[in-house]
């Protein structure tokens, strides 16, 4: 099992629990620090946008009763945490009896699908480019092209998405503006539906990949330079190994390990960035759920989706942390 000790796994899991608990407590406490309450402010926001709301007093009281806002704070907190543990996220305020879990559940596969596909792409492309940048046999023009493509790294995904929409959806009319698949198509395991999903997903995925891969290119290049000075590289060369074999089996394999740690550190930013990209494309993922909930002032949905985002991020980090010692048995995690 390499460096994966029970103590290490327990500590990581502890941090995972701490993260989720702390973040969801902040989400619970901060809204209650201010005068008034969520329901009250929701109703007043509603009447701001929709004009006078009839019987608003009664509505507020009814909602308060329904959501138990008249109970003491610790009872509310206990109920809230208990609900989160059983993944019960409450009921949508705007689409009233629909549970938040159902709304999120419909969007989640789209977000996770987009996330995993782009993760594979940017991790592969980024590391490939980084390896090529440091390799002596890479043609000069390729190095220039790779360096130039790194400009995207500093741009947030949402801005990249806007530019891609403008270029490829508006100007050249190659890709669709919004959506996840063709209107009128029924989700099914057919080739037609799949190709539609890929066609509609290209620009959103491209926005995420373009702005993210450079991060790994930079890291990989640095690691490759470090590995290049190692004795076993010289030995491999002296043995007369083919340059590509040497690059792949000797250099890349060793250089890629720290990249996985880097992935754990950045995953939160990437998830947040993807949410915005989804919002820009009206992609059926969590991004659109959040945008719609904000428009409808649907507080429970906003809270629920935020909790799920926190959960996704923390879980990804936990998985990466646990995988890492398995891939690299040299790493022994000491307590301090």
């Amino acid at each position: 099992m390499g460096g994966l000790t029970l103590q290490y796994a327990l500590r990581r899991f502890g941090i995972f629990l701490m993260t989720v608990w702390l973040a969801s407590s902040v989400i619970f406490i901060i809204p209650r620090l201010a005068p008034g309450d969520p329901i009250q402010s929701m109703i007043s926001r509603m009447s701001e946008s929709a004009g006078y709301v009839e019987n608003s007093e009664k509505i507020v009281e009814g909602f308060k009763e329904r959501f138990g806002l008249n109970d003491p704070m610790y009872v509310q907190y206990g109920r809230y945490i208990g609900g989160l543990v059983s993944l019960d996220l409450g009921v949508s305020l705007a689409m009233f009896p629909t549970p938040v879990k159902e709304i999120v559940g419909r969007a989640l596969p789209w977000s996770i699908g987009l996330m995993s596909i782009s993760l594979v792409l940017y991790f592969f492309i980024g590391n490939l480019f980084g390896a090529l940048l440091s390799w002596k046999k890479t043609p000069f023009f390729a190095k220039i092209a790779i360096s130039a493509s790194m400009i995207f790294t500093s741009i947030p995904g949402i801005l990249c998405a806007l530019i891609l929409i403008y270029l490829f959806a508006f100007n050249f009319d190659i890709f669709p503006f919004t959506g996840s698949y063709e209107r009128g198509l029924e989700p099914a395991w057919t080739i037609e539906f799949f190709s539609s999903v890929i066609y509609y997903g290209t620009l959103p995925a491209l926005s995420v990949v373009l702005v993210t891969f450079g991060f790994w290119t930079i890291g990989m290049r640095g690691m490759m330079v470090t590995v290049e000075g190692e004795d076993y590289m010289t030995f491999g060369q002296a043995k007369g190994l083919k340059p590509f074999y040497l690059l792949y089996r000797y250099q890349v394999r060793n250089a890629i390990l720290p990249q996985i740690t880097a992935l754990a550190f950045t995953i939160g930013t990437i998830v947040a960035g993807q949410i915005l990209v989804e919002a820009a494309f009206a992609y059926r993922g969590m991004g659109s759920v959040i945008v719609n909930a904000i428009k409808d002032v649907d507080y429970t949905v906003i809270q629920g989706t935020s909790f799920i985002l926190i959960l996704i991020t923390a879980t990804s980090v936990l998985i990466l942390d646990l995988i890492y010692p398995l891939i690299d048995p040299r790493i022994t995690f000491q307590k301090n």
């Binding site: 941090i15 902040v26 989400i27 741009i155 949402i158 806007l162 508006f170 939160g268 935020s306």
Partner: protein, 294 residues
Amino acid sequence: MLKRKSISNPWLNTPLVCGALVIGLLLSSTLIGNIFWDTELAATRSAPLNLPPYGFENMRKQEGVIEHPLGTTNSGRDMLAVMLVGTPATMSIGLIAAGIGMLIGIILGFTSGFYGGLWDDFVRLMADTTTTIPALAVLIVVQSLFRVEVNTMAAMIALFAWPGPTRYIRAQVLTMRESGYVKMAKLSGAPERDIMFKEMLPNLIPYLAASFIGNTSGAILTAIGLEVLGLGPTRMPTLGVTIFFSLEAAAILRDMWWWWGLPTLTLILIFMGLLMINVGLDEVSNPRLRKASK
């Protein structure tokens, strides 16, 4: 050749100078513009609607006018005024958030590294935990209820900007604590505060600067995220808020490129400038990079 390089001032490297130029030009031009241009025009209904920039035509064949050289929005905001107000506002969110985050980081990093013990364990646990929390997710909830304005928003973003500096400073303090000059200072009876801030802190300045810049762009990124989702400050047309309004009005479809394009372009310049400064500062604090780069 090699000799000249080692003498030259490390603070004058190309990326740092270029980045500082980009950010400096952007800030100074908006500040100068604030003097010469009426920024009241950034309010709604202060100009004709949907005009293109001067010298261009919009989809309805209207020509741009010199009174509104960068065009107007669908609610009659003058784009030049919006950019002049929005650019410094967006930058200040980043700077305030990074500043507060850095301050917390310095205090926590020094105290936990210097004193160790239970306090150190606590700070480390909090830092490990906070890095994993996606700031955007928490702030969406807060902002959807309160709608705070620019400065409060910056302060809230700062609550997620301290773990980076804290961790680094703590690690550095741990190594510095054992070094000769710190032991010497301790022996000669210097107060602990002086040891921390007069002996140790100056060593960290290049890194702290790089981390400050990194946090600035991170904070701007979070702010943009909130704003584009429609949760920006209500009274200030920051760049993200402007992009949100343009997307709401389908500005891309209506070919109103000046409306979404100008703030997007400015933001890209800001982010690229900050990245270049960061790369430059890395070269200052890490001399090995200087050799590798050229």
